[in-house]
């Protein structure tokens, strides 16, 4: 029997970066197949090629032994390929039911929509997922987890032979995840080929039977049985060496007054009763699931959302921050965004413009004049220190690799010489080497006296880098964990704080 979905020897380049090279993977019917790899290893690119969003440069995609080349996701869905993408893809202003059934609202353009059957059908999938939501309700009124489930329901409802799930559990609670896994097992038993992408190795070992690992766009392994492997093997394949539990020693505590301190802080975004302080030279981790309100807290601190209660103290003095400009220029605060493409960088512009944007004001003459050379003199040493690889400073940054882009989005804050830096998911979409490098850099910065707030959902990263870890859930701080670099203990404690909500 030929494989339900087979990818053979696929390569794909984007300007400035080779995303996939000679990658193969085979999804069999009746199997749950884990696709693993670090951020930037090429998982999402692979899924996008399979579903017809990107076109491969070389290689072949086959379904049931027949080569396919979907022109767009529509064709892929019609060809029997259901996908839950990593980013949310719901139409917010339409009701839940219609979102689930969006591609089956009618036979042709002028078909009337039979709402009763649409809602009935949608309800079936919502029930299956144990999601108690009226299919007539607008998606915009759902919580993040509910949206994720609706999206899964939408993919399930296609009843396709192949189902690819890209990080389906990122914002789910353990209970919701349990329900999802039950459904996936049933689908597997019914003969569906399921592809499962996740960062959470525990989940992978719980539900998957096969595994393919990608590393830097190559196959680290191709469709092997998972039960022959243990966690350490998988990790070794992912990062190319044995998992280091903690390379870095616990850093000495500094006994200095905090650079920034929040007291019973609340924001218009919904944060409540936040108490938090970061000392110069300290790396404070902020852990939480997607939708817990971490990035929102960072942005609120920078003045993008009004403060509604409590106090913010910078160097012991109460301040009110109304704009990022104020945060940067008056209080030395910076923010490395998790969303490089949308918030961190101006992809249309050059490396120089992106790395110098924070210091234009500082470097300009009194009349606001500024020469490229002045900026280059200022940011050049920093970029050089970060070992940025670019043909020239005038290269459009959109053409650089993810790791190099990330270096620039950090570099601009180094250039600005901030005293307090919030780093949000620093290792999304970058290669392992850059990641390690960034971790060193964060430590180095802290050693030089910068106060750092690190936001990440990557548990090993958190354990590796942070000094102490605050756990956030539902826009509140649920607890604090002193980081002794003991992965097992720390991660268990963190999860305990988050799941405390479940128990209650």
């Amino acid at each position: 029997m030929s494989a339900a979905l087979q990818v053979s020897h696929v390569s794909k380049s984007f300007p400035g970066v080779k995303a996939l090279s000679d990658v193969s993977i085979t999804f069999q019917a009746g199997s749950i197949h884990a696709l693993l790899g670090e951020n930037g290893a090429g998982k999402s690119t692979l899924i996008k090629i399979v579903t017809g969003i990107h076109l491969q440069d070389e290689g072949e995609v086959m379904m049931g032994g027949i080569p396919v080349r979907f022109a767009n996701p529509r064709k892929a869905a019609a060809g029997g390929l259901g996908v839950v993408h990593q980013e949310r893809n719901l139409v917010n202003r339409l009701p839940v039911g219609e979102n689930i059934m969006l591609d089956r609202l009618g036979a042709h353009s002028l078909s009337p929509v039979d709402y009763r059957s649409v809602h009935k059908e949608a309800e079936r999938w919502l029930k299956l997922l144990e999601l108690d939501v009226d299919p007539r309700m607008q998606v915009s009124r759902l919580s993040v987890a509910q949206m994720q489930l609706v999206e899964i329901g939408k993919a399930l409802s296609l009843q396709s032979r192949v189902l690819l799930l890209d990080e389906p559990t990122a914002s789910l609670t353990p209970n919701e995840t349990k329900v999802l896994f039950r459904i996936l097992r049933k689908l597997r038993d019914d003969g569906v080929a399921i592809g499962f992408v996740s960062h959470k190795l525990e989940e992978v070992f719980e539900i998957c039977d096969k595994v393919t690992v990608l590393r830097d766009g190559h196959n680290a392994c191709d469709s092997i049985d998972l039960n022959k492997l243990n966690r350490a093997d998988v990790v070794q394949m992912m990062i190319g060496r044995a998992e280091r539990i903690s390379k870095k020693d616990a850093r000495p505590k500094r006994d200095v007054p905090p650079y920034i301190e929040l007291k019973s802080y609340a924001s218009a975004d919904g944060h409540r009763d936040i108490n938090l302080s970061v000392r110069p030279g300290e790396i404070v981790g902020l852990y939480g699931l997607v939708g817990a309100g971490r990035s929102e807290l960072a942005k609120a601190l920078l003045g993008l959302s009004p403060q509604t209660a409590g106090q913010v103290l910078v160097k012991g003095r109460p301040v009110a921050i109304h704009s990022v400009a104020e945060a940067l220029h008056s209080h030395g605060m910076g923010y490395v965004s998790e969303d490089r493409k949308q918030e961190g960088l101006i992809l249309l512009h050059s490396v120089l413009a992106n790395s110098g944007i924070t210091v234009w004001r500082k470097l300009a003459t009194r009349l606001g004049f500024l020469r490229d050379a002045t900026v280059a003199d200022h940011v050049g040493p920093i970029l050089r220190k970060l070992e940025l690889k670019t043909p020239s400073l005038y290269q459009t940054i959109g053409n650089l690799s993810g790791g190099n882009q990330q270096k620039v989005s950090v570099a601009k804050w180094l250039a600005a010489g901030v005293k307090f830096l919030i780093i949000d998911e620093p290792s999304v979409g970058i290669d392992i080497k850059t990641k390690a490098y960034l971790h060193d850099l964060i430590h180095e910065l802290a050693n030089e006296g910068t106060a750092i707030l690190l936001i990440t959902s990557d548990m090993p990263e958190m354990v590796d880098v942070a000094d102490r870890i605050l756990v956030m859930d539902d826009y509140q701080i649920k607890g604090e964990v002193e980081n002794d670099r003991n992965y097992e203990r720390v991660s268990k404690q963190i999860m305990g704080f988050i799941h405390g909500r479940e128990a209650a």
Binding site: P15, K299, L302, L304, S323, V324, A325, A327, L328, H329, G334, Y335, S337, Q342, E343, G344, L345, I346, L347, L348, H349, L352, A353, I357, T358, W360, R361, A364, L367, G368, F369, L370, R371, D372, A373, V375, A376, D377, V379, G380, P381, L383, R384, E387, L388, K389, T390, P391, S392, L393, Y394, T396, N399, K412, A416
Partner: protein, 346 residues
């Protein structure tokens, strides 16, 4: 390709390796501006050799003068397209400013040295109103300026009772008629100077760069410490100022400040205002400007218009020709971009 930046300060002055330089040359040859310049040159040569009178000094003078005015109108729109927005009220601002200038110079008898700057400040002020409304309301500038176009123009007509100012100081009309070297209008010179100034502005000033950054990605710019709201307001102010300048130039050209110079609600300016920057390669989505392209775009449109008129194609078909030209221009640009992308050159 991927060599580490060895010496950034050198990189700043002459960043390209020989390889990089070659690709820069190719990039120049494939750029919108270059294509437009070639097209303009060709059109011009064809018209000059086939149409009688096209290359007479009088014809060249009038074409040049009109290019000057249309360039300024195009620059005014360009300054706000940078933000990914637009300003439908440029014509209304131009007409209002011209009338305000007329009032100052004629009714109040203010010397030109005061009247001109005051008028430009007035136009910039109208732009400021647009900008602050757009930023504060968060509504797209299309709808805001659609409204302000009506309001500005309506108030102007209400206040002036649509009466022209035609007793302006003699310098004004004679400036419009002045032929430098018997051929070149000072209006063209002013616009070309403004092109130089704006090119420098977008390249060498903090504000100009911030405008580009805020236009390309307002979120990222905001999070990088740029006061996006202020910058976008500043873009509208710049638009207002440039529209005011265009209004004054048109006043010099007609020798009087007349309320109808930009048509009902100032709508006559909209076509040149969009044609020039769009033909010139300014991204409507914001974040990239081409000042030179705007000039070339305006020059191309005016050359075509004059040529078509001389060819006696039929006055009424000129409008359709301009529309087709706009369409072809954007389609060619699209094709060029995808060519570049397929060759991995962008």
């Amino acid at each position: 390709m991927n060599q580490t930046v060895a010496n950034p300060s050198i990189a700043a002055d002459a960043p390209q390796s020989p390889q990089g330089r070659a690709s820069a040359l190719t990039r120049l040859l494939l750029s919108n501006e270059f294509g437009l310049a070639v097209l303009l040159l060709l059109t011009f040569l064809i018209f000059a050799n086939t149409l009688q009178g096209f290359s007479s000094t009088f014809s060249l003078f009038t074409i040049g003068r009109q290019i000057g005015i249309n360039t300024m109108i195009g620059l005014a729109m360009m300054a706000v397209i940078v933000t990914g927005g637009l300003d439908l009220s440029v014509g209304a601002i131009g007409a209002c400013t011209a009338m305000f200038f007329g009032y100052l110079a004629q009714a109040l008898g203010l010397p030109l040295v005061f009247a001109i700057p005051l008028a430009i400040v007035f136009g910039a002020g109208l732009g400021f109103i647009n900008g602050i409304t757009v930023v504060k309301s968060g509504v797209h500038s299309f709808i805001i300026t659609l409204a302000s176009m009506s309001i500005f123009f309506g108030l102007m007509i209400f206040l002036t009772k649509a009466q022209s100012f035609n007793q302006l100081p003699a310098e004004v009309p004679s400036f419009g008629k002045w032929k430098i070297g018997g051929l070149v209008s000072p209006l063209l010179v002013i616009s070309m100077l403004m092109c130089v100034v704006l090119s420098l502005f977008y390249r060498f000033t903090t504000l100009g760069r911030s405008m580009l950054a805020a236009g390309a990605n307002p979120k990222a710019a905001e999070l990088s410490g740029i006061r996006t709201g202020h910058v976008i307001t500043a873009c509208h102010v710049l638009t207002g100022g440039l529209a005011a300048l265009a209004g004054l130039m048109l006043t010099a050209r007609t020798g009087a400040a007349i309320p109808s110079m930009a048509g009902q609600l100032g709508q006559d300016w909209l076509l040149p205002a969009f044609l020039a920057p769009v033909l010139g390669g300014t991204l409507l989505a914001g974040g990239r400007v081409s000042v030179v392209g705007t000039f070339l775009g305006a020059a191309f449109v005016q050359t075509m218009t004059s040529g078509l008129l001389l060819m006696r194609i039929g006055e009424f078909w000129i409008l359709a020709c301009l529309g087709v030209m706009l369409l072809l221009a954007v389609l060619t640009d699209k094709a060029r971009q995808s060519l570049l992308r397929s060759k991995g050159m962008v």
